[in-house]
Each structure stands twice: as C-alpha cells, then as structure tokens.
Amino acid sequence: MAFIELKDVSYTYIEGDEPPVTALKNINLSVEKGEMIAIIGPNGSGKSTLAKLFNGLFQPTEGSVSVGGLNTSDQDKIWDIRQQVGMVFQNPDNQLIATMVEEEVAFGPENLGLPSATIKARVDEALALVGLEEFRQAAPHHLSGGQKQRVAIAGIFAMRPDCIVFDEPTAMLDPMGRKEVMATIQKLRSEGKTIVYITHFMEEVVDCDRVIILKEGEKILEGTPLEVFQARELIKDADLELPEVPYLVYRLREAGLQLPDEILTPESLVEKLCLLN
C-alpha cells in the first residue's frame, strides 16, 4: 500500500443557500514514500482543495483518504496524521503565528508536547536546514517573502514529518524568493522527505518524479514530466503552458530538426544541438 492513498475522492463545497460547488471529482491518487509529485492546474481546478485533503484539514465528501494506513476521517488519529503530513501554504504572512523566528519554528514541536531540550535541538536543526540561523531573534515582518516561506518550512521540518505538502508556496514571491524556496525544497527531497508540490507554474514541475494535471476538479493526465510534456494538446486544454525548454524543443522539431524527446534542461538541449552537426 502506498504511503498516501486517495480512493474515488470527491469534494463538494456547500455554503448556505448557494448551489453546491463540486471542486473535485473521482480522484484516485497514490504517493509513495520518498517521491516528489507535482499537482498542477489552472485557478479553480481544485488543487488547493486537494492539498487540504492530504492531512485531514478537509474531509472528502465521497471516497477516502489514507495516510500511512490511517484514514483521515479517524478523529482519534488526526493529530498523528498531521504530524506525518506537514503543510506549507501560499501566503507567507498568514501562516506565521509567533513574533520571533525561533518561537515560530518551535510552535509545531510545542504543540506535539515535546520536552524543552528536544524542541531546542529541533529548532537549531531546522533553522540550519533552511539557512536562517542568524535570524533566530528576528521578527517575521522584518523578513523578505522568501525568508518567511523558509521559516514556515523550518516550522514544518521541526515536526519531523514524513511528507510535506506545498500549496503554491511560490505564488506570492519574487523570482529571488522563488529560487530560495525551490532550493530548500530540493534539500528536503535529498533528506528523503516525500513531497507533494502544488503549483500553476509549469517550469517548477520539471524535476519532479511524477506530474498530475488537474482540470475542473478532474485528473486529466498523470505521468513523468517527459510524458506529460508530450501531451501538448491536453496541456493547452487545461490553460497551462509548456515550460520554455520543452516548448523550444517542440518548435525545433516542428521546424524539422531531429531532436530526441528527453530534453528538459537548457544544458541537455545545448548538448543535443551540438550533436546534430
């Protein structure tokens, strides 16, 4: 059994007298330990709703979600599930609770009821991982967007989760901040963490193990980045754009150049182009 499994999951928002809105329809999905998967889709495709199903913040209207064999609808196990599946949100300002960076990182471990010495050790470790040791005493509102997001990541890391779900963590950041956050995520990946990365930037899915494309609450495509980039029509249908390199390769091939499929980075494109002569 996979680490996280979604079986026939549907989610419907019901608010007062308004007509119900179905955000997700019959999603089947599994995430293996140590994997990095990307979930991508345009606005309103249900990707943020999907994110909140992974750790029981939302309960599916139909179907079931299980994490490490535990069902997220089991209220007795919900805190274990949330400890195992951490979550970083889109807006860096709205997920920081404390007035000081180290207190912020300690918040999660404190909630787990760990002894003070353990918390201190974990805070040190987490701040070292995201490279913000010298900001221990800083107030979050004095940090840049990218730094705030790294503090949020440290706060999750200190809880020692197996999996971290990122819900569009770079959507509100400048290019610098985006780079910092992406580098930190790669670090987490090399630490062996399972990563679910939700985004609407195609460029960011290039080095994931698996990509899932959502459109209007349905999974329309799943595969490795290479496989997904071949399905140009479906991508276009979902209001998404190919990243620059695969797009360039596609246009070059259209123009008659004999290029292979597996080109995702500028470096490999240069190499393959040089081989042509």
Binding site: L57, I97, T99, P109, E110, M159
Partner: protein
C-alpha cells in the same frame, strides 16, 4: 515607514532589570502598586520615589524616558489636584476669594493623590520599558495558569496577545497599501472636517476588515495543520525559571514596601 514601528515602549538594554524573570517583575510591580495605596505620609512617598530611581539607575535607562511617560496623564494629575484643592474641606483656610476657598486638607490630599498617581505611572511604565511584549505575554501566561481551574483561559489569552502582536505590523502595512491605492484614485484622507475625514476612512476600513478575516481563516488552518489544539498537552521551548537575582529583587522590593508603609 510603518514597517519599523516598535510595539509597546520596550527599550532594549543590557541591564539587571531587563534580565529579571518577567513573572517576578509583574509580581513585584503589583506588590508595589498595592503598597503605594497604603502609604500614609510624605516620607513614605519619598522612600517610594527613591525606590523607583534606584530601579531606573539599575535599568540603564534615562530618567527622562520615564518622565516622558507621565505626559499623557498630566491632565489627570492637574485635574485631581484642582478638584481636591477646591472641594475637599477641612483644616485651616489657606486662601479665600469669593466662592473659591482652599483649605489645608484639600491641598494635602490633592498633592498626595497627584504624587501617588505619578509614582504609579512611572512604576508601571518601567515594567513595560524593560520587558518586551513577548516576555510580558509569557510571564502573564505562567502567572495566570493557576487560575485555569476557575475557568480562566490563560493560554488562550496569551495566544491572542501573541497573534495580535504578530499581526499589528502586517495589518498596518496593509492599511498603508490600501490608503495609497485609494489615494492614487483620488481619495482624500487629510483635509476636511473631522466628520469628513472619518467618513473617508470607510473605504479604507472595509477592505482592511475583509482581508483581516481572510487572514484569520488562513491562520486558523495553518495552526490546525501544525497540530495546534489549545493549551492542553502543549509544552514550551523556553521555560521560565526563577534565578537567585529574581529572589534578591523580590527581597529588596519587599523591604522597601515595608519601610514606606511604616513611615
């Protein structure tokens, strides 16, 4: 500009007073405040004033900062003095002109009250000058904890204070942004009568409130995702421990209280 505001009036210094346990500082302040109400002579006040000046000296703060804290209450001070001067009767008549009459009892009570308020204010502002809002919140949480048994939500109060402190700069920044956006579209926040100005704040407050609610929603979600479930079973990274200097400070203050009450 708004980004660099400091909350409260905390002034960072490396001093004995700053390094005391916040719980002890709060308790001592409360004891002294109660003590001030039992002072019966000017000698007592003199000793209390000496005590306050000793703290100022030990806290490496300038006494001007403390005096500045008295400015907002100047009106109350004068008001108290004047009311007592003219309306408290008793003792010898010191001054009489038409219906105005000042008697010695009035002068004494007035001065007494004014001095008492001055000492109260400078003492409490010394607490906030030497203790950061975070430490204050922590200290209060610890001190209020025993009252949980009687239904006082100590942890929740402290959490609310922390979140308020955390979001004041964020909301100020946002208010500034909205104001600029409205000004760019011709809004005028600075001229006109008070009513006009108050009215022109409506298009600022509505979006600010809306976004505050959205933020609250997001924050609640983020806290739950990090296993927050109230104060039950929660531990702290920084535990407060009384050190010998805290007990010394308590002993020192207690002896002062006894002296100025006796005098």
């Amino acid at each position: 500009m708004l980004k660099n505001i400091t909350l409260g009036q905390y002034i960072l210094r490396d001093s004995l007073i700053h390094s005391l346990d916040p719980r002890m500082k709060i308790m001592i302040t409360m004891l002294i405040v109660i003590g001030l109400f039992f002072i019966g002579s000017f000698w007592g006040f003199l000793v209390a004033a000496a005590y306050i000046f000793t703290i100022i000296a030990f806290s490496h703060l300038s006494w001007k900062v403390v005096i500045r804290g008295l400015k907002p209450v100047m009106f109350i001070l004068i008001f108290t003095l004047v009311i007592h001067l003219f309306f408290t009767r008793g003792g010898v008549v010191l001054f009489e002109l038409g219906f105005l009459r000042i008697e010695s009892e009035g002068l004494f009570t007035g001065l007494f009250m004014a001095v008492r308020i001055m000492l109260l204010i400078s003492l409490t502002s010394l607490l906030t000058l030497t203790t950061s809002p975070i430490q204050l919140t922590d200290g209060l949480e610890y001190l209020l904890n025993p009252f949980r048994r009687f239904g006082l939500p100590a942890h929740e109060l402290a959490m609310m204070m922390t979140i308020a402190l955390r979001f004041i700069p964020t909301l100020l920044e946002e208010a500034e942004k909205i104001m600029k956006a409205q000004q760019a579209r011709g809004a005028d926040f600075e001229s006109g009568s008070i009513f006009r100005r108050a009215k022109s704040l409506v298009p600022l407050l509505v979006p600010l409130f809306l976004s505050a609610f959205r933020r609250a929603d997001d924050l609640a979600m983020a806290m739950e995702a990090r296993c927050y479930r109230g104060g039950e079973g929660r531990t702290r990274m920084k535990e407060l421990h009384f050190l010998s200097r805290d007990w010394l400070a308590l002993g020192f203050s207690a002896s002062f209280i006894i002296i100025f009450i006796i005098l």
